[in-house]
Amino acid sequence: MLHYDAVVIGAGTAGLVAGARLAEGGARVCVVAKGVGSTHLAPGTIDVLGYAPDRVASPAAALPEFMTARADHPYALLGPDAVAESLGWLKARVEAGPLPGYRYAGELDRNLLLPSAIGALRPSALVPETMAGGDAALPGRVAVVGSRSLRDFHASLCAGNLRRAGIEARGLEIDIDVERADENALGLARRFDDAGWRAAFAARLAIKLQADERVGLPAMLGARDPHGAWSDLEQRLGRRVFEIPTLPPSVPGMRLFEILRSALRRAGGRLVIGAEVVDVERSGQAIAAVSTRAGGHDVRYAAPWFVLAAGGFASGAIELDSHWVTHERVLGLPLRGLPAPGEPRFVAEYLAEQPMARVGVAVDGELRAEGAENVMVVGAALPGAVPWSEASGEGIALASGSRAAELVLARAGGTPAGAAA
């Protein structure tokens, strides 16, 4: 049996933030997870509030009204200050992180509008500096550069939709030799880490560019040293270069994972991935311990506090079974936001709001799970949001992860409780 001050379940953005901030506050923390979380799938941007439901120009301005109008939304529990504070924390951790020179740009005051791989403009509050040059507010024409070798990015389609949105853009293709015809962005990102390869790429690209064009490339500009790769390309091409997120695996998302993991470890926190929670020990209204299984080996973790950051339906932490019953599978907690019996769970129009979309673990005003007084719920496990259509997922993850850490630390009296190992 391992004893911690807090055990965080789930290693997506919310879990890693909660773990890092608990550790920074002096708690002995272990983050256990079945696998890596949302980071590897998401674009790596911090979307705070993009649609409410009209496109949001300024999250800072829109949030107070949004919170009032949607009392059941996670943001209503968290408050605007928690969002702003957590964004500041993240920026600082990026700067102090393992990727030299890599920064996040943007403020809560104004959403940047960045092209997606299909050329739709996505509103994001905070984005990797390597993407910021794609902001629709910036002047200059855009050359979207793809390669036939990368099946996960289609430059001319992206450019075509940007033109429809009023941005002068064209798509062009550049040959990249690949070993495998089904190379993905991560494979190519590793090449961009190589200065020699990058120089040759820049030379081939430069002759295809016109004056005053900025260059949009799929998000693959370096895995180990993205700042180096990106600034080198900007310098060599003598213009703005920016990354455009595309299909998973997400290179900028992996960078964010590295940054958060590093923050956790530097503060003394532990991360165990590949450890699925298979058993829960309850003690009255509290969770006493959880057991994880990895490689056929069971380990028990006991703690006075647990943070549930295991995600929602996408991760499998919440499940609708074939008898149409919905469960929270990790700790067996009650849910909120379910359609009433007999009401439809889904509707026939794909892009309409689906009745099941807002299901999450029932919590009180301080993120505490109903039926388990020492469990804090964060991220996509929270009810009330439709993060993929609100463009709010990372904002909720960051703010709720931060807030949960703060609440746990405060309740533990500022000093770690139960520190005995």
Binding site: A42, A52, D54, R148, R151, L247, F313
Partner: protein, 526 residues
């Protein structure tokens, strides 16, 4: 208006209609084949994929059983490349009347359906996931068929002999010259353009829609009752042999392994509207429960997609003989010269996919009678294009080919092993902007992720070819997403809901498909 002149106009591009076109072309007729949608988009493309051995009908309908086994043998020869020789079991489960098994055995013997009783223990060795409580097992020569491949092979074979094949062309009016039908006016769904097709004989092969088409021609009393059934594709082959319940045919009693999935079917419910594709939760539950009876643990597997098909059940309101007034599963050939005194028009409806070739043969025999020409049918022996080698499809063929050139060919759809080259070929050949047409042709997006990864890629490829505008590409993507959603939301549970949510993140989160300029009602707020 464009005008075409032909010998035989076929209305309806399902298996029967395409079969008629192929049969007619082989007999040397000039043919025009039209369908209001894509070929095999209706009932033919909406079944479980089983080529019956005849066992299902051995007790209830011996004539149908005889037809099935005869056609099963013929299809194995002529459409070898479209067929996988999975074989079949009829199994007596604890829920089945044990006395039926002997009647089944006798029925098979009487109708010539090859049937061998085997030890249930042997069947469990072959199919370890089968319910261990089965008491009797009979082996029959079931097969599965890729119906889209079959229909397109016949269409291409007919085209090679001069036929014109026009999907997305609906008949909007008939040409009549007194008591003679002389063709029809068809309208292109995509262009809106009308074509006047003059034909010596017009064949109504529109299946569940045959009554409507006959009405349009001014022929009364052709009543086709659409019998609606649901089918669910599970995410992998829980069995590799077709498994049938050994009982009188009923709902949810067949599990057919086909390509990378297996399909459970079906229900039967009369519906007023052949275009009614409603799927009810109670039906889904019933299918899953029936699946559990055949393969315990069925509910733990992922349900990939649900669809409904409508069987054409024919009822002739004009027939004087009461026996034929019964609604029948057998096919019905109506020679409107004999029935209504209207020449140049023949209706073929009813029947089942297994006997489509026979239906086509009988139809063309009637056409020849009307034309007073004797041209013998050769579809029993002539292999379809692509099936000349007479080798059956094997699961793993695509993987085998891919492994030979692992690094050479870019895969667009990993689930179904569709390469970029194949995709580009298909887009060019079909000259289509509809990714669903491509799906039916290549199985693109039919695997476990239901297009989650390949459809953005395919949209990009589609846009890159033939100068499609970004607007058209967005529309193609959104159309595909909406169509796939129709087939998945009624069966979303378990890991498939997880998959769907991942796809929501990809399409709505990462790509922002709801906010491309065409679809975006975006107004900035705050």
């Amino acid at each position: 208006m464009t005008t075409l002149s032909t010998d035989v106009l076929v209305i309806g591009g399902g298996a029967t209609g395409a079969g008629v076109a192929w049969d007619a072309a082989l007999r040397g007729f000039d043919v025009v084949l039209v369908d209001r949608g894509d070929l095999a988009e209706g009932t033919s493309g909406r079944f479980h994929g089983l080529v019956h051995s005849g066992g299902r009908y051995a007790v209830k309908d011996p004539k149908a059983a005889e037809e099935c086994i005869a056609e099963n043998r013929i299809l194995r020869r002529i459409a070898a490349d479209c067929i996988e020789d999975i074989g079949g079991f009829f199994v007596t489960t604890p829920w089945d009347d044990p006395a039926y098994a002997d009647r089944f055995k006798d029925g098979c013997q009487a109708t010539g359906v090859d049937c061998e009783e085997i030890d249930p223990a042997l069947s469990l060795r072959e199919e370890p996931r089968l319910n261990p409580d089965i008491s009797r097992v009979f082996r029959v020569p079931d097969a599965n068929i890729d119906v889209w491949k079959t229909v397109w092979a016949m269409a291409h074979g007919a085209q090679d002999r001069g036929a014109r094949v026009l999907p997305y062309h609906a008949a909007v009016a008939f040409r009549r010259d007194g008591d003679r039908v002389t063709g029809a006016r068809v309208r292109g769904a995509r262009t809106g353009e009308e074509i006047d097709v003059e034909a010596r004989v017009t064949v109504n092969a529109s299946g569940a829609w045959a009554g409507r088409v006959a009405d349009l021609a001014g022929i009364e009393g052709v009543r086709v009752l659409p019998g609606r059934g649901i089918m669910i594709a599970m995410n992998h082959r829980l069995v590799n042999t077709c498994v049938n319940r050994c009982q009188m045919p009923t709902d949810g009693d067949i599990l057919v392994p086909i390509r990378t999935v297996c399909v459970i079917g079906t229900t039967d419910e009369h519906t007023g509207d052949p275009d009614d594709h409603t799927v009810r939760e109670s039906e889904v539950d019933a299918m899953l429960d029936d699946g559990e009876k055949l393969v315990p643990g069925f509910r733990q597997a992922r349900a990939l997609r649900v669809w409904t098909g409508v069987r054409p059940l024919f009822e002739d309101a004009k027939a004087s003989d009461t026996s034929t007034r019964d609604v029948t599963r057998a096919h019905a050939l109506l020679d409107h010269d004999q029935r209504d005194g209207v020449t140049g028009f023949v209706t073929i409806t009813g029947g089942k996919l297994t006997t489509f070739r026979l239906m086509a043969e009988e139809t063309m025999n009637a056409v020849c009678r009307q034309l007073g020409e004797h041209r013998p049918c050769t579809t029993q022996t002539e292999p379809l294009p692509g099936s000349e080698q007479r080798e059956h499809y094997r699961l793993g063929e695509r993987l085998e080919r891919k492994e030979e050139h692992l690094s050479g060919a870019q895969l667009i759809c990993e689930c179904e092993m569709v390469t970029r080259g194949k995709l580009e070929d298909a887009i060019r050949r079909r000259a289509t902007t509809n990714l669903d047409d491509i799906r039916r042709l290549l199985r693109l997006g039919m695997g476990p992720c239901q297009g989650g990864f390949c459809i953005y890629r395919a949209t990009g490829v589609l846009h890159g070819l033939d100068g499609l505008s970004a607007e058209q590409a967005d529309a193609a993507l959104q159309h595909f997403l909406q169509e796939r959603w129709k087939g998945i939301w009624p069966i979303l549970y378990g890991d498939q809901l997880r998959q769907a949510r991942l796809d929501d993140w990809i399409f709505q989160g990462v790509l922002g498909v709801a906010h491309t300029p065409s679809s975006d009602g975006d107004r900035s707020a705050a």
